[in-house]
């Protein structure tokens, strides 16, 4: 609680106690009025002062003025009529309770959300003359060696020069899988160093580092206003004057009408009272506070899950997404080549891999690398004595006494070796020893383990069409899209073709539908910005992706796309609930007030109660359901 909140809470308590005590005091006349003025002034003095200032500054239509006018009017009616001062005090009291609650709830969720985004490093350790000193990360120049102790946050992006450790990236990605860091590894700010001391040479300034960029992005997100927010701002602008005007009508028209035409008594006090009731309802607080709060909470909840949304407008659009277009390489697949199939002929699988890896021992080709990776560390790969590389075909290596041939089908043909053709998509390597065929190995871009779940989740959540775009061959694209259950796929596309393809899909979509494109952000930048919504995957540390896209997934898990859509839908649903609920209740109360069925008590409940409920409802947007972990 802030000082101001504490002070206001004390005012609320004192005046409510006083009010209850005074209700039972048997005093009458002016003494009664004077006594009741004490709690009224305690609870309402700041409102009255603000209202006065508002008039002086020619800003009359603010809520303070309305509250002051309504309660003062109620007091005048009480003095001249029934002597019920309670109403004026109660209205002021409830109004203050509402304000207090609002400031408390907003402050609380503000803190909650900033705690979620607690990746801002406070200091950096720099070695100066043999001593480790803490300095402001702003002052660290690029190329400085900083020291990160276990338990500390990495303040600035850089490269490890000394030390080994594991890093916790959960603040950035929402996943608690630790990452290893060893000399030569690039590390990004915002990660927490878990185990060992690290010396890091910074490669960026603090301002340009990942943690600063992310914070900047999230904090500025709410300045891109959604349609609902724009609507509310416009609505609030006309709503208050409109209600004040109708209050004036209610106060004047019916009495004048009854005097002139029915020649019955005007009953001014009754109609003025009803008009004052109008004024109490006229504050649009519930809407004005709850809509941006919902979006802020939604964006906060998403960022905790490693989904950065660049603005409320994107969150709103995402909720209407019906078509999701994927880039294949790096998005649905890992973008790294891996051994995906081993078909040995009369030999152990491992032995085939080992022999092929040995033949490719000196090769720097990515294929050789993935072969070595597939063999693993537990088997010895001997170096060949001599290697004969046949360009465009493969390698013939002499290993000990054996001649090992490893390469494509052309190599087998060339050497006159009989082989079993393998039609799988990807790169196929045939291996033979001393002209005897041993089997084939398929190396291809591996599908991410969560890709097929991701597509299934999207379908389940009502996405009408999923499309895959790739520069890869038709057979590879076909195999993957069938495996994942993607509706449409377009293969052998150049980067420029992808933009054209997305434009065609955009022109074909139905009205009101949103097309989202998910890509890895590095070479898909034009497509990302062309689609209604660009989702960049695996953006940790990639500036280009953060720039070009509207939504950034910090890790490269495609299942986060459906999660992001779920978050956006929940958030938008809450916003709509709040809009309809607040406007609905207010309209009902206005009508009831005009008919004399609702008094000022009901009006203040309608105002404050609706606001409290709307604020509580907004905070729900922060909570993100954690779905079952994908296998």
């Amino acid at each position: 609680m802030t000082k101001k909140q504490k002070k206001n809470l004390i005012r609320i308590i004192i005046s409510s106690v006083l009010m209850i005590v005074l209700m039972f005091l048997p005093v009458t006349g002016w003494l009664r009025f004077a006594l009741f003025m004490v709690p009224y002034l305690i609870i309402g003095y700041d409102i009255l002062i603000k209202a006065g200032k508002g008039i002086i500054n020619l800003q009359p239509f603010d809520e303070c003025f309305l509250m002051a006018l309504a309660t003062a009017g109620a007091l005048v009616i009480a003095v001249t009529g029934d002597g019920d001062y309670l109403e004026a005090i109660a209205v002021m009291l409830f109004y203050q309770i509402g304000e207090w609650f609002q400031s408390y709830a907003v402050g609380k969720s503000r803190r909650n959300i900033s705690e979620l985004m607690d990746i801002r490093p406070d200091y950096a350790n720099v070695e100066l003359n043999g001593n480790i000193e803490q300095v402001d990360p702003d002052e660290v120049e690029t190329g400085t060696i900083i020291i990160v102790k276990p338990g500390e946050k990495i303040p600035i992006d850089g490269i490890v020069v000394e030390g080994r450790s594991t890093l916790n990236t959960s603040a950035l990605t929402g996943e608690s899988i630790p990452r290893d860091a060893a000399p030569g590894d690039e590390v990004i700010s915002g990660c927490v160093n878990i185990s060992g001391l690290l010396r890091i040479r910074t490669t960026k300034e603090f301002e340009e580092s990942t943690a600063s960029k992310i914070l900047d992005l999230v904090e500025n997100a709410s300045s891109r206003k959604s349609r609902s927010e724009a609507f509310i701002t416009r609505f609030a602008r006309i709503y208050t004057p409109a209600v004040v005007f109708s209050a004036l009508m209610v106060a004047i028209l019916p009495p004048v009408f009854s005097m002139l035409f029915i020649s019955s008594p005007a009953n001014w006090s009754m109609w003025i009272y009803r008009a004052l009731t109008f004024l109490v309802i006229s504050c649009p607080c519930a809407l004005v506070i709850s809509v941006p709060l919902s979006f802020f909470a939604g964006i906060g909840g998403a960022s905790r899950n490693g989904i950065l949304v660049k603005g409320s407008n994107y969150l709103e659009q995402l909720s209407r997404t019906k078509i999701v277009v994927f880039d294949k390489t790096g998005t649905l697949t890992k973008g790294v080549f891996e051994v995906t199939q081993v078909c040995p002929e009369g030999i152990e699988k491992k032995e085939l891999l080992r022999l092929t890896a040995a033949a490719e021992h000196y090769s720097t080709h990515p294929i050789a690398h993935s072969l070595r990776k597939a063999v693993g560390n537990d088997m010895y790969i001997e170096a060949p004595d001599s290697v004969d590389e046949i360009i465009g075909c493969g390698i013939i290596a002499k290993i000990g006494e054996d001649m090992v041939a490893a390469g494509n089908s052309r190599l087998m043909d060339k050497c006159g070796i009989e082989y079993k053709s393998n039609e799988s998509a990807g790169t196929v390597i045939y291996t033979a020893k001393n002209n005897k065929y041993l089997g084939s190995i398929v190396i291809s871009d591996a599908i991410r383990p969560t890709s097929s779940d991701a597509i299934a989740e999207l379908k389940k959540s009502g996405i009408r069409k999923t499309v895959m775009l790739t520069g890869d061959s038709l057979s590879a694209a076909k195999q993957i899209s069938q495996k994942l259950g993607i509706d449409e796929m377009y293969s052998e596309l150049l980067p420029g073709d992808k933009v054209e393809e997305v434009e065609r899909l955009l022109s074909e979509k139905r009205k009101g539908e949103i097309l989202a494109f998910a890509g890895d952000g590095i070479n898909d930048a034009p497509v990302l910005s062309r689609a209604d919504i660009g989702i960049a995957m695996g953006a940790m540390g990639s500036d280009a992706a953060i720039e070009a896209s509207d939504i950034v997934l910090m890790d490269d898990d495609p299942i986060k796309i459906s999660k992001a859509i779920a978050i956006s839908r929940k958030c938008v649903r809450i916003v709509n609930e709040n809009i309809w609920f607040s406007i609905g209740i207010k309209v009902i109360c206005l009508v009831l007030g005009a008919l004399g069925l609702a008094n000022m008590w009901a009006a203040i409940f309608a105002d404050v109660g609706v606001m409290v409920l709307a604020v509580l409802n907004s905070v729900r947007a922060l909570i993100v359901k954690q779905p079952k972990k994908a296998k």
């Binding site: 959300i113 904090e219 506070i289």
Partner: protein, 73 residues
């Protein structure tokens, strides 16, 4: 030039009013008030003296919202 200031304000409506008021001040190219993060981002026109501009922004904001605070000094 852009600068970000910490502010204090009680309600979202008032924050929106502050934004409008700040935009109208001479030397301010654009202003955005973020109620949720309690920050005011001011983009100054070239050659504007930030200190005097902010004095005027603050005065204008105080006028519409007597409670508000901008930490710019």
């Amino acid at each position: 030039m852009k600068k970000i200031y910490k502010i204090e304000v009680d309600c979202a409506n008032c924050a929106a009013k502050m934004e409008d008021a700040a935009k109208k001040i001479d030397g301010v190219k654009d202003a955005v008030v973020n109620f949720m993060t309690l920050k005011m981002k001011v983009e100054f026109e070239d050659g504007a003296d930030t200190e005097t501009v902010m004095d005027n922004v603050f005065k204008a904001c105080r006028k519409i919202e007597p409670d508000c605070e901008i930490y710019y000094k």
